[in-house]
């Protein structure tokens, strides 16, 4: 086989074939040849027509053709320049970070972990059957024995049959729920408390107990998990976290017990309204942690339980407090949109919270002291999308928030002036941003605006009034 023969994979294994074949190929086709072919075939319009006009005696329309070519060349150069410029503009914006804020810092060891004293409980102390039975049950292990009883379900059965539970056992189970690193123990303790905190048909607990989880215990736990309560939640992107610690392991158990506490308000108020607000803020903020990405169902459950925990008279003011506190700490980027999305708006309270949160975020974003929807609307709509400096990303965030503010709840349904102004602005966005506008987020703004506009049309009740001509 000659060294510059083209590789022939099929023939390689068969030496007989390679002997016969090479004669047919006279020449290896090089890149130059291909290029030549290409020019000759006239596919390259510019060169080909240039070649033609040179070689041919000048005809009637040769001037026109020359001009055309030159125009095309100029256009092309301009286009390239434009692209380059746009690319420069685009570059810095390209990395809008994905949502994700760190709400947990370093985990701490709780102070109470050393010895719970549960081995001194009545249940174990009063047991004197070892000799009688003739079995060594290893009860002297104390806590370890009780852990087994809890995990294998015996403890719950006993408690149910006794109809009551000792405080020492109840508090020990709560500690296991909040701090044990054994997943099975956590889950069993969680089930144990779930059944303690569930009411029967007559709104009475099925088991008597005097020890309740309290706000301070639950708050301490979440602080021990490293919740950044006062410090701002730091910005993180998934790739930036270099720490080895995973998510707080007991957070699901914590969420479940918080949900359960909310359901017994008739019997015992575990949280005061302001405490409940605080817990609600914590739960909402957990939606931002990437490491808890798999838990939106449990988080959503807990969120809904907390929302319905408030009395009707408390709800509105508490909701404002929660919205304000969240809006101060969440970043005005995709994070704030994530938060708003996570409040599902499937019931009236949730809808209200969603629109309040959007309102507070917009208020802060425009640096307003007091809530004024008209002014917010003016600020959002004053943006001129044709201007070069227009920040489409912020516009995108504002548009989504504004839509949530106006349409999540009923408050603005009848304010025709506001709604109409908003629609006009959406219409402008969807028509004035060209399809070829390559500026960062421009196409997203256009698409979002036309989607929302379309949606707003559909939301208009069929019978009432006509769409304003515009």
């Amino acid at each position: 086989m000659r060294i510059d023969d083209p590789l022939d994979f099929e023939g390689e294994d068969d030496p007989l074939l390679t002997v016969r074949r090479p004669a047919k190929r006279k020449k290896v086709i090089g890149l130059d040849d291909l290029l030549q072919d290409y020019f000759d075939s006239g596919k390259d319009e510019l060169k080909a027509s240039a070649a033609k006009s040179k070689g041919r005696p000048k005809g009637d329309n040769s001037d026109d053709e020359d001009k055309k070519i030159r125009e095309k060349e100029i256009d092309f150069c301009k286009f390239v320049d434009e692209c380059e410029e746009k690319a420069k503009v685009m570059d810095p914006g390209e990395d809008v970070p994905q949502w994700g804020q760190r709400v947990f810092g370093c985990q701490k060891l709780p102070s109470i972990l050393g010895g719970t004293g549960v081995e001194k409980c009545q249940l174990l102390q009063s047991f004197g059957g070892d000799e009688q039975l003739g079995f060594d049950l290893e009860i002297e292990q104390g806590e370890a024995f009780l852990e087994g009883m809890l995990m294998n379900g015996w403890l719950m059965k006993l408690v149910a049959l006794y109809g009551s539970v000792e405080d020492s056992i109840a508090s020990w189970a709560l500690t296991a729920l909040l701090y044990s690193s054994n997943k099975k123990l956590q889950d069993s303790a969680s089930e144990f408390w779930d059944s303690l905190l569930s009411l029967n048909e007559d709104d009475k607990p099925s088991v008597n107990f005097g020890y309740f989880p309290s706000y301070s215990i639950l708050k301490d736990a979440v602080l021990n998990y490293g919740y950044l309560h006062d410090a701002p939640w730091s910005k993180t992107c998934t790739s930036e976290i270099a720490v080895a610690d995973g998510p707080p392991q007991n957070i699901t158990a914590w969420l479940r017990v918080v949900s359960a506490c909310c359901k017994i308000r008739k019997l015992h108020s575990v949280f005061s309204p302001s405490e409940a607000e605080d817990v609600l803020v914590i739960v909402i903020s957990l939606f931002l942690d990437r490491r808890l990405e798999g838990l939106p169902l449990i988080l959503g459950d807990c969120l809904n339980s907390l929302i319905s925990y408030f009395n009707t008279s408390e709800w509105e003011s508490s909701c404002l407090m929660v919205a304000e506190s969240i809006s101060k700490r969440v970043n005005m980027d995709l994070n704030c949109l994530r938060i708003v999305d996570c409040i599902t708006g499937t019931n009236d309270r949730s809808k209200f919270l969603r629109s309040q949160l959007a309102l507070q975020l917009l208020k802060n974003s425009f640096g307003l002291k007091v809530v004024n929807v008209e002014r917010i609307l003016k600020s959002v709509t004053s943006i001129n999308v044709k201007e070069k400096e227009c920040s489409f990303f912020m516009l995108y965030v504002h548009i989504v928030l504004m839509d949530n503010l106006l349409f999540s709840s009923d408050a603005f349904r009848n304010k025709i002036a506001i709604i109409d102004a908003w629609r006009n602005f959406l219409r402008n966005c969807s028509t004035q941003i060209g399809c070829t506008d390559w500026r960062f987020y421009a196409s997203k703004v256009r698409n979002k605006a036309s989607y929302l506009l379309q949606g707003a049309m559909l939301k208009r009740p069929a019978g009432s009034g006509s769409i304003p001509a515009n």
Binding site: Q98, L123, F127, G129, Q132, L133, G134, F135, L137, I139, F145, G148, M149, N152, G153, W154, K157, L158, A160, L161, Y162, S181, N182, K183, K184, D187, T238, I241, A244, G246, P247, Q249, T252, R290, R291, L292, E293, G294, L295, P296, L297, I298, G300, D341, T344, G345, T346, K351, S408, C435, S443, K444, N447, K448, Y451, Q454, G455, M457, L458, K459
Partner: protein, 458 residues
């Protein structure tokens, strides 16, 4: 409180078109855009179907798109969001529900609504086969059993599997079982009133399991090993120390989803057991025909599997917590050894079916009878089964809703049973003084002794 059954507003095309336009891939630059668009689409479907002023059921195209996103395994965020959405839509727009018409409840089936299952009867299956491209994201019997197989394989290969795919499979399974339940439970209620076999025959569950494409025994075995693996994994105390954030969030979530998948397996088992019971009744009444096919009752399959693989016994009994059927399984296990009249003198009037916990304990009531039993069955297995039977008795006592069934299955008061339980263990111990007693059994003995002294003092 079924939702209003007007024509869904989404069906007029406006909402559908508007939402579907989000998924248009024109001008998409990279995977990030694709991801954003999909997330925006899910949010659009949510607000149209669940949160808007006048929520209306999404159209089939919208459902299809959401279900496809669930199976696209691109990101945990999208998988969970689409799963969550489908679960909520399922609750809001049930395919089957009950209405109160006069004195009795009537079953309403919305045939045109979307379903993740594609189950033709045998005649139609050829036709469906032709345009699979449009519906290959939907589940038929074969795919459903393949899903369980994939889940078993994933949990066998610890660590090596693709975490996201595993989570995706688990939430898919959870969603599918939830859909089966939403279809079966109202039918079950309607059946109890009307005793009309057709209602149950047409249930998705029955059609799904009736297909020859699903090897039922294999399917049940897979489900059992899922229950067992989970039990093992939890005991192994999975650590969260993972290299990257994404990994740890996957490990973290997968534990949660495994627990849910486990619950789904249990739900599925209980539904199939109920289906089998109804089928038996229908057979007796001569309502079934050859077209209904033949399938082994699930209890038989479970029992067989547990007999041949005794290592499965303990984790299965720990995982399967539904009291009635757990006890049924245990009692049936004992009843195999009950037939010998030599063992059970003078009480042979008890037919095999109504073996009670009391009579099972009686098999061990004296040293001699216990010895005879031990010749037939492994004493460790006997201890395990007795301990689990005893635990079920504890949950039966005092719950009035279960009272009638419970009394029938227990056959004696809790005090008597507690005493007999302890003496059964003592007899087994006399035969072999070095017999191993597991932690679970020790706890059972502790509970029995504590309760005995409490109940005697009362």
């Amino acid at each position: 409180m079924p939702p209003s059954r007007e024509q869904p507003a989404a069906a007029d095309g406006g909402i559908e078109e508007n939402a579907m336009a989000i998924l248009d891939t024109f001008g998409i630059k990279d995977s990030r855009d694709l991801h954003d668009d999909r997330a925006a689409f899910l949010e659009a479907v949510r607000s149209a179907g669940l949160a808007g002023d006048k929520p209306s059921s999404p159209t089939r195209r919208m459902y299809d798109a959401v279900f496809q996103i669930l199976q696209s395994s691109t990101s945990l965020e999208l998988t969970i969001a689409s799963f969550h959405l489908l679960m909520e839509l399922g609750k809001q727009y049930p395919r089957v529900y009950l209405t109160n018409s006069g004195s009795r409840q009537a079953l309403v089936t919305v045939n045109e609504s979307w379903s993740p299952f594609l189950l033709g009867n045998n005649v139609a299956s050829g036709e469906i086969g032709r345009n699979t491209s449009r519906s290959d994201h939907l589940f038929d019997s074969l795919r459903f059993s393949l899903l369980t197989e994939a889940m078993v394989e994933a949990s066998n290969a610890t660590g090596a599997h693709n975490g996201l795919k595993h989570i995706e499979n688990m939430v898919l399974f959870q969603y599918l079982v939830c859909t089966l339940e939403a279809d079966f439970v109202p039918r079950h209620i309607a059946y109890k009133e009307s005793l009309d076999w057709v209602i149950i025959r047409e249930s998705v569950l029955n059609v799904l399991l009736g297909s020859r494409k699903l090897v039922f025994k294999m399917f049940v075995k897979n489900c059992i090993s899922l229950l067992n693996q989970h039990q093992r994994e939890v005991e192994d105390d999975v650590s969260y120390k993972s290299a990257s954030d994404l990994d740890s969030s996957l490990t973290f979530s997968s534990l949660e989803f495994e627990r849910e998948a486990l619950t789904s397996v249990k739900k599925l088992f209980i539904m199939v057991i109920n289906l089998d019971l109804i089928r038996k009744e229908a057979d007796k009444l001569g309502l079934t025909s050859r077209a209904d096919g033949l399938r082994n009752p699930i209890l038989e399959v479970i029992l067989e599997e547990l007999t041949y693989n005794q290592i499965y016994l303990s984790p299965f009994l720990l995982a399967f917590t539904e009291w009635k059927w757990k006890l049924q399984i245990i009692l049936q296990y004992f009843s195999r050894y009950q037939v010998k009249p030599a063992v059970r003198t003078r009480r042979s009037d008890n037919s095999q079916q109504d073996l009670t916990v009391e009579s099972a304990l009686s098999m061990f009531s004296t040293e001699a009878s216990a010895k005879a039993m031990v010749k037939m069955m492994c004493p460790e297995v006997a201890q395990l089964l007795l301990a689990h039977a005893y635990q079920v008795c504890l949950s039966l006592d005092g719950d009035s809703s279960k009272a009638i069934d419970a009394a029938k299955m227990m056959g004696a008061s809790l005090l008597e049973i507690s005493c007999k339980f302890v003496s059964a263990f003592q007899n087994l111990r006399k035969i072999n003084t070095s017999i191993q007693i597991s932690q679970f059994e020790k706890e059972a003995l502790f509970t029995a002794a504590t309760l005995t002294s409490k109940l005697q003092n009362e």
